[in-house]
Symmetry: none
Subunit: 401 residues, 2 copies
Amino acid sequence: MIGLEQIKEIARPTPSRIVLLVIDGLGGLPHPETGKTELESAKTPNLDRLASEGICGMIDPIGPGITPGSAPGHLALFGYDPLKFTVGRGILEALGIDFELKAGDVAARGNFCTIDESGVITDRRAGRLSTQICSELCRLLDRMNIDGVAIFVSPVREHRFVAVFRGEGLLSALHDSDPQQEGLPPRDVVAHSPQAERAASIANKFISQARATLANRHPANMVMLRGFAHHPDLPKMSEVFSLKPAAIAHYPMYRGLAKLVGMEVLPTGATIEEEIFTLAEHYDAYDFFFLHVKEADSAGEDGDFTQKVGVIDKVDMALPQLLHLAPEVIMVTADHSTPAVLKGHSWHPVPFLLHSKWCRPDGVVEFSERACISGALGRFAATDVMSLALANALKLKKFGA
Amino acid sequence: MIGLEQIKEIARPTPSRIVLLVIDGLGGLPHPETGKTELESAKTPNLDRLASEGICGMIDPIGPGITPGSAPGHLALFGYDPLKFTVGRGILEALGIDFELKAGDVAARGNFCTIDESGVITDRRAGRLSTQICSELCRLLDRMNIDGVAIFVSPVREHRFVAVFRGEGLLSALHDSDPQQEGLPPRDVVAHSPQAERAASIANKFISQARATLANRHPANMVMLRGFAHHPDLPKMSEVFSLKPAAIAHYPMYRGLAKLVGMEVLPTGATIEEEIFTLAEHYDAYDFFFLHVKEADSAGEDGDFTQKVGVIDKVDMALPQLLHLAPEVIMVTADHSTPAVLKGHSWHPVPFLLHSKWCRPDGVVEFSERACISGALGRFAATDVMSLALANALKLKKFGA
């Protein structure tokens, strides 16, 4: 596979525009009664027309048989090898609450919990306290400074929070303090390597100060940390691809992932119509737009086949407003499959279509899992999506003499 | 992908013969009026029969979306990973004039130019002097010896020449002396690394001596060098594949690329008929033949759709003479696409066919971009072409026990 360094050498800025529409969890499995997948069941005249005029294929976000999380699924689409660039749990949780991370940050997921007088955990979720109380408690712990490291504590939901450690030379090679069961005391945070000793010491001091602060806040009288992760400090899309990229996404985590690769995140509404309206408003200011539709994945996770079909119907109905802008390259695909019958992400490859003036159309006349198998693009790696997009937008120079 | 070292372990010599027919730039895009590509528009009864009896697929010379230069396009077909083995500008220019390069050589592209009394460039092309004068001036500069390094200067065309530096331990990590604009003096050649300092010093001494020699040759009173490159010293096909390979190509650059991988270059005429005649004459002496047809690419570069169709017609008409020899394996493909509508190389995958007694035919009955999509070979990397060829010629042993 061609690497980012090599793409960088041949990428050139042009006025042409690329739109990447990600219908999260789009790929599905047949309904037991109809034998049709969610996409095959939806009414998609506009997507079918794009497929007829364009080229189709099936992408593997990570590799055959591998079920992607949201982060690797998106990173692959953005051109970043998800086996090389990883986004840890703590970082993902921070992105999910729109926390403004910086390079060098170490983030961890946190729980408020209950301990007894001997320090043994009696409730790992502190009675699932309300998000409101969680927010109050986070304010008590927020913005400590320990040995020159600033610690930010932000609520997530119920008993869950995020702790971000900001300072020089912090490593995230740290074991969880959460023992994952009740009847034991929380563990000390232990470093995997000598270089992480300082971070471990600061995390333990933070936990100790938090315990003191929370002494009278039973049932939330202790905190536990897990999923320590380091800001991945990814190369920016502007540097690698010579693009001016913008993200239009309603859910914080996807905005956060987009920020990690240097996209400008545009404020937008919750529906696909509003997202396309946002795109139209900013059409002149960027040359790459990532549009994210979360609801197909949510319906799939809920096992709601009909709801997922409805989401796809709606995306298709909204498409003419996007096509009206006539971007040079339009791609429609997903970060992974979320078949309603499996109620979760799956390993199945994802239908992909690319529409451009220069795409050498194939014989596919319908956008569906089955039709895309016969597409000219065949089955390919999601990490190749960006080179294909750039090529079709005439944004890549020749490789080699 | 299996590596050259691993192929070498299992390759064995046999009397069977492989013919690789490269129709340069074969892949195309539909004509706006007919909706058919160049290949789909040509009359190709012989290619279609080969496709019916053989297997087809689509190859990516480098990777999805990547437009190959001629060197990486060919190296990939010859089985050499073009991301690993690179051929720089200066080397390619030397190959293009049939210069006999040796391992260790450093080559640069050169310009005669005009400087004024203060040394500032007033014409980067010295008034585009005639090729004849260029040849005379090159003779004045040819075969200097500086600090034990022999320097060969050979004309290319008009104001352009090639300079080849031959000596021990020369590196090509050198910046151009050509500032790429007029109104500035030529730059000194600067080394990228301390190891290249000696090469930089010799290049600068050469330029200084050339300037003295050319003092009275206004407008060609100075030289500039750019695109310094090192002979890539590739493993030979005979060693890697246990083949006796021959190249039949009319254009120097392709003969040069073939030499780089250790092919014997056979003298031949300019037409496909003459090339096939050459092949027949030497049929007993080699077991791998690379035939190169340049004109499809040239027509594509010129944007001449009809001309390109005509070249493909002619290749097809000449094929019976080749088929008459009944080589065990025939492959027809290209180093890259050159769609007439794009007037240049492109990233589109390239139709590929392989004909052999042992190929397990698929359902493809026509040699075209669209038909090859459904071929048994699917979409695959050009670097796999050689293993396929060797396998079908029964020249590869089992891998592993």
